[in-house]
Structures are given as structure tokens and as C-alpha cells.
Symmetry: none
Subunit: 130 residues, 2 copies
DNA sequence: CGTTAGGGCTAGGGTTCG
DNA sequence: TCGAACCCTAGCCCTAAC
């Protein structure tokens, strides 16, 4: 196989973070085409960016489920209405509850509506911490 | 601790080998779901299959009980050529030239593997020798 | 058509057990 | 000490939805 496994370098991670801060999470293609990052990420696909961001986000909140802590923190919470470019980092982060899958009501905010960019809390959280 | 370490039986090993020959190495889930083998391997996971195949391959290469100095077994022979994947068990290891990244067809057997991921040389070798 | 979100799978390193 | 069995998870693939 020509590409055994392409590990992410520090530079690539940084570029990805910067890209997310600049364009917002979910804008993988946009980040990729941004001349500011394309030099570093030129051998990554938009899907790669998405996957890497997912991994980074997981690490950012759970920090290693080394142990047995079945955290399963499936925060499917979406942030209430928010624009692409400006990440609402000023939101208060609700303390982690034992949220049992939010199939029940428990909408975070007053705007559960049609649909939104699907910005997960952990992503913003990571953004916050980076 | 509740996990007494389940040693592989001869039947299981045979089923695994047959599965690899039929579906190709790397298709652990496929092998596991194949009714032909699921009866024998029903208490193994796809990861178990992968791990067992790794051990078997190592032994087949003779690296097993001789010197651990072979850290260089970091295979992935970066041979400029192909030597990629060839589950051409029905014919000899074909030596076609293969472009680096292409997802060219090249189906080998009548059972077209939609796409063959990494088939490492040692695996084929083992397959060949078994 | 192109893109993204999310689930699923594998590869490979690491760890445990015998 | 060594090796087989098992765990962890980054990276990658597949698919649906749009």
C-alpha cells in the first residue's frame, strides 16, 4: 500500500485549528482551499480534516478514556443558532451531566428547529481550549 | 478476571485461513459475517481475527522466535514499484505496474473485491504457504 | 454532481496474561 | 523472559443526506 498511514504533524494540526477558528468547523473544503492553510494541508482531503477534527475534539473533552470510564459522552447537543464564521465561544458550558441521549426534550435552547450547521459542543469547547 | 484468554483452536485457525483466501486479508468483518465461517468464529471479533492473522503471519515469516532486533520489520517496503496488493492466489503474484494512487479496477478473482486495501506482502506469502 | 456528519472498520502500537 | 491474546484508538472508508 502506498500510504500506510499518514500521521498528522504538529503543523497540520495547527493549520487545522487555525482554519476552524477562521472559517468555522464544518467548512472543511473552505479551509482546504484557503491559501493560508493549503500549503500545509495540501495532502489532506476535506474528509481527512473532518476526521482529524473529530479526533481532536474527543481528546479535548474526554481526555483519554484510558481507564474504564465509559464516558460515552455523546454530546449530540447542538449549539443554539449560530453563525458560521463567528463561533459562539462566549456560551456558558453546561457542566457535564449524565445526559442520557437527548432523545427526550431537553433542548439546550429555544431553537431546536429545522436544522443547523451541526456544531457540536465539543468542537467549540476544543476551540476554546486550544 | 473474567477473561481467561481464549486460545485459538485448530478449527478457528483453519476457518480464518479459508476466510482470508476467500475474501482477502483485511476483510475481517466480511469473513466474520460469512456464514461459511461464522459458525466456527462466532465468538471472535473482527479485531481478534486481525490480531490472530498478525501472529500467524509473523510466524510464517520466521521472525517469530528469533531476535527481536528486527524493529525494522517496519515493512511497508517503499519499493518504488507496486508489490502492493495482490490476492492473486489463483494465479501467480502478478507483477503488473500499478499507479500509485489509482483506484483502478484490477479485479483478480471472480469475487470482485470492491477494492483492496493493504495487502501486505507477508500476508500473501503466508497465504501462499499455508 | 460535490460536500459533510456520523457510523464502522482496520492497522498498528501497547498491554496483559500465562 | 517471551509470546499469544487482547486493548486502545488514529486514521481511513462507507453511506446517507443535503
Amino acid at each position: 500500500m502506498g500510504a500506510p498511514k499518514q500521521k498528522w504533524t504538529q503543523e497540520e494540526e495547527s493549520a487545522l485549528k487555525s482554519g476552524v477558528i477562521k472559517h468555522g468547523p464544518g467548512k472543511w473544503r473552505t479551509i482546504l482551499k484557503d491559501p493560508e492553510f493549503s500549503g500545509v494541508l495540501y495532502l489532506r482531503s476535506n474528509v481527512d480534516l473532518k476526521d482529524k477534527w473529530r479526533n481532536m475534539s474527543v481528546m479535548a473533552n474526554g481526555w483519554g478514556s484510558r481507564e474504564k470510564s465509559r464516558l460515552a459522552v455523546k454530546r449530540t447537543f447542538s449549539l443554539p443558532k449560530q453563525e458560521e464564521n463567528s463561533l459562539a465561544l462566549t456560551n456558558s458550558l453546561q457542566s457535564d451531566e449524565e445526559n442520557v441521549d437527548a432523545t427526550s426534550g431537553l433542548q439546550v435552547s429555544s431553537n431546536p428547529p429545522p436544522r443547523r450547521p451541526n456544531v457540536r459542543l465539543e468542537m467549540c469547547l476544543f476551540c476554546f481550549l486550544y
